[in-house]
Point group: C2
Chain length 576, copies 2
């Protein structure tokens, strides 16, 4: 495996392959965070030539391992000002792995306003100026690439939101059908890719083979046990395949942790109408598909295909957090309209969480009314067109709040808080507050224990035990995000020691390592240390590891609780 | 002297007078910064009920001391996120002093969207709801107040930019003619006053007397020596009275420190056309007035009255930094158009430096062309009307840069860098980087020594000695800002030890104190300590005491220099 470095500052941008060197043994988030932390000036402007944009598959990407299709992108974030890793499914990680590329590192930036595409196959790398791509939406762009390079490609791309360097711009990854539906969503990563002058990276693994393990038999055996474990567990074997992540709407609403009307209430009257159960039923009725994998090797198959009333493709099955962001958060209970919003965000290249939160703030400012679905669709079009209003909303929740003088801003480190109220689930509040990524549910998904009772139970309404819970999850997650594995394997890992062992066995068999459980935790700690260290050098302090003050002051119904974990406890999270 | 506390959270807002207590001996900036640092949660949202808005005249305001008309306002800044003190001339400080009020502290915020006015005279305080005042411009508002309360009032008010809670909103103070032309400009203080539901504070000192010194004879004698010293010094006795602050345009341009086209060049071809010399000549020709004081007791008289081509009042004489912000910074060399921009900013209630910098950034983004004066006037109207574009520009340079994806953002701690390039004058760069206020030339005006050679000379193009220079000036300034004295007395203080002594004698005579030169420095250090302490608790670190990276990388012509003061040296500034 090699690192591909592309220098975009040169008049004719050039690419060169390098050995992994000091980055040997790193994959996914470990690799992006190590490179950013070691190579990027923490005080540089995120859109400057001094920032870098790193794309890395995980340790097992491109192998025959199930679930190993996650791709990480990393940079200094224009949204948070800190280090950022965002990951997604889709095909790119596997294709990159098969091409022998551990990471693509985009450096510098063009002196002109030109737009480039990068094509990579087993023959090498071509970097071409193509200003006809500017401001293309993701679906149009990918279609154009397929017409040029054939149907077997995987694309990593930005939509117009990226072109316009908005802080909610995502990086799109094509899925199994070649559609740009899987997004490295958070932190404005799309703006950084755009600042490098790169619109799309096209990957073609034609003629390549999966990466070969050191011990093929042991690897095969471990993979088999791993898959069996996932299929056995009720979450990964039943809930997620049947209803996708949106199975959570009814669950989270039921426990009163469903942030409604910009975090004013913990329950949404219209939740059932936008639930995964309703969504899956519609998908079946209309010829879509509620049970589908977003990448080769997926055995959970939590993604899906959403058709409109006429039975035509509308979008991929919207994720729970997307349905929440435009649903309860904006007071909207029309699942078809929400699916349209999902499509538009994918097409323009936008983080649905950040945009839903920004629109919730705009609703609080009175810009449009709660529940006005057509108003929301219009606002997303404003973003895509880059109107002045669009440039406000497209820069996220904190930006929108400042533009309209709104005081209740649900962000940590500038990034919007997602779909689980930190008062009704105190553990996730700890993760929001302390993650080096800013508010990010995936960074330490306490919902697993606080609500779903996988791997144990920690009472979500009490402050006790939440810091330890979040710490352990953040460490384990930093490791999983480095393997290329989908985070959803964690449910089975938490409950079934033998499935956890199967994953470790698989990695050991592939690399010839001798990792133990404790090594996994050390690996995760190392990743977090890179990230925390970068952030400290960028000026982050313990004061940045706090929730917005209103979560400490406004109790949320129905439990009538505020966030109660003490500052001094939060400050112990990284003292392991 | 009393503190007047107004609780705006009550359904019927109430006011009460308190003894100074622990704040005894504090005035102006010392008083605002002490109250904010001791009483405000550093992590509160700047627009929340937990922030406070403090208005304080100086130690000598309301006395017969010459030059003692500065008024300070303080709060947590919505622009920087740190502590903020902004001060201005005008009549309010003297009137407040005569009313026996050391500080007005606005606390809490109304639960409704109602707008209040506060009237204070020797009989007491009236707080009245008056929603007819909403969105009035400063000139209209003040006119309305004069029709209600008579011509002898002084007003402290916000324009529409404040109503809309923009981060470049100023607080206007009426001048000797009762016009809203003196502004506490920086840091978005107008947005915080607005968040308290207060549109205007009307002060009437009818029937009051100046504050009486402990030792009237010694006070009178010291004041006499003080005034004589100011009149003797060439800057305060000749340059400033003749041409106002805009005398600097030719000087700063000549030394190549005049930031042009958003800090791309150090000289502006059109500088002479917008210089103080040209301005003063026009004022004379058209029946304006180039030599005028902004407050009772001013003997420097650097302000002025600017008439339009037809001889009608257009605005007060624009200050150097305003002329620069819209002049060289935006490539505009039409002084009449710049005067119109000055008027519009006063009327809408905007910081001219922040807005000029924001428009420079917008020009870099291609929104309008360099030098397009009518385009700039139109943009300022957009702010006043609160269009979406106006809400972008009205939130300042960093906000505008983010909206349009611009990387070259001339701000420190979120606040726009003013009219002196930190590469061509390295001492002012140190002040920009390290001041707790964000980029602020007045916080430690190294230009005095680096360029004007008052009080000595430190080579502006070399890094040596700049930290010590800035340190001493920042400490001395923190003291002067606490006395109520206009900062321009500093030129005479630096060059003439007897004038410096006269000021100390005057304070000692007034209060019966026994202050020495060393006490003055201790006083200044105490103020800076309050401010630094607040900022540290708000999450500021040494990484926030840096200039934007491009000042370290892009040399500026004609001297072809970058900012060279080392980080480690900057970090020593507050180690006294």
């Amino acid at each position: 495996m090699k690192i591909l470095r592309v220098n975009m500052s040169d008049e004719t941008p050039s690419a060169k392959f390098e050995e992994l060197g000091e980055y040997e043994g790193f994959g996914g988030r470990a690799l992006t965070s190590a490179i950013i932390s070691k190579e990027v000036d923490p005080l540089c402007h995120p859109l400057s030539a001094d920032n870098k944009f790193v794309i890395a598959g995980g340790l097992l990407s491109g192998t025959a391992a199930a679930m190993s299709g996650r791709i990480s992108v990393g940079c200094k974030s224009p949204l948070t000002g800190g280090i950022k890793e965002a990951n997604a499914g889709g095909q790119a990680a596997q294709v990159m792995g098969k091409l022998g590329i551990a990471a693509i590192v985009l450096e510098g930036k063009p002196k002109t306003d030109d737009t480039y595409k990068i094509f990579i196959n087993k023959e090498g790398v071509k970097i071409e100026k193509d200003n006809s791509l500017k401001m293309l939406s993701n679906y149009d762009l990918v279609q154009k690439m397929r017409s040029q390079y054939g149907d077997k490609i995987a694309c990593i791309s930005i939509g117009p939101a990226g072109d316009m360097k908005m802080s909610a711009a995502s990086v799109a990854i094509t899925d199994m059908e070649g559609r740009p539906t899987r997004h490295c969503g958070r932190g404005g990563v799309g703006a950084v890719l755009a600042s490098k002058g790169v619109k799309v990276i096209v990957l073609d693994d034609t003629g390549t083979l999966p990466r070969q393990p050191k011990d093929p038999e042991a690897f095969k055996d471990a993979n088999k046990r791993f898959v069996a474990g996932l299929q056995k567990h009720p979450v990964t074997g039943q809930g997620l395949p049947a209803y996708g992540t949106n199975v959570l709407t009814n669950i989270i609403n039921e426990v009163g942790a469903y942030p409604t009307y910009n975090f004013k209430d913990g329950k949404f009257a219209g939740a059932r109408k936008i639930s995964g159960e309703v969504q899956a039923e519609l998908e079946k009725q209309r010829g879509g598909n509620p049970t589908h994998g977003c990448h080769r090797g997926c055995v959970i198959r939590c993604s899906g295909i959403y058709h409109d009333k006429d039975g035509n493709y509308l979008t991929k099955q919207p994720e729970y957090e997307t349905v929440w962001a435009f649903g309860g958060n904006c007071g909207i209970d029309d699942i078809d309209k929400i699916a349209m919003m999902d499509f538009l965000c994918d097409n323009y290249g936008l983080d649905t969480i950040e945009i839903g939160a920004a629109i919730g703030v705009a609703m609080e400012a009175g810009l449009i009314k709660w529940g006005d679905a057509d108003g929301v669709i219009n606002l997303i079009h404003e973003i895509g067109k880059g109107t002045y209003l669009g440039r406000i909303i497209g820069n996220g929740a904190a930006f929108t709040a400042k533009a309209f003088g709104v005081e209740r801003v649900p962000v940590v480190k500038g990034q919007a808080i997602p779909a689980y109220d930190p008062r009704a689930v105190q553990g996730i509040g700890v993760t929001y507050a302390t993650s080096p990524m800013g508010a990010d549910h995936t960074a330490g998904y306490s919902i697993a224990l606080n609500v779903l009772k996988t791997g144990g139970f920690v009472d979500p309404l009490k402050p006790e035990g939440q810091v330890e819970l979040s710490r352990n999850l953040q460490i384990a997650t930093a490791f999983i995000d480095s393997t290329g594995m989908c985070l959803f394997i964690a449910f089975a890992l938490l409950d079934q020691p033998e499935t956890n062992q199967a994953l470790i066995d698989m990695i050991n068999a592939f690399y010839g390592w001798n990792m133990k459980d404790s090594d996994v935790m050390e690996y995760g700690k190392k990743v977090l240390k890179f990230e925390r260290d970068f952030n400290a050098r960028a000026g982050f302090t313990k004061q940045h590891d706090r929730l917005p003050r209103f979560f400490y002051k406004e109790p949320i119904s129905p439990h009538n609780v505020v966030f109660m974990v003490k500052d001094e406890e939060l400050d112990q999270l990284f003292n392991w």
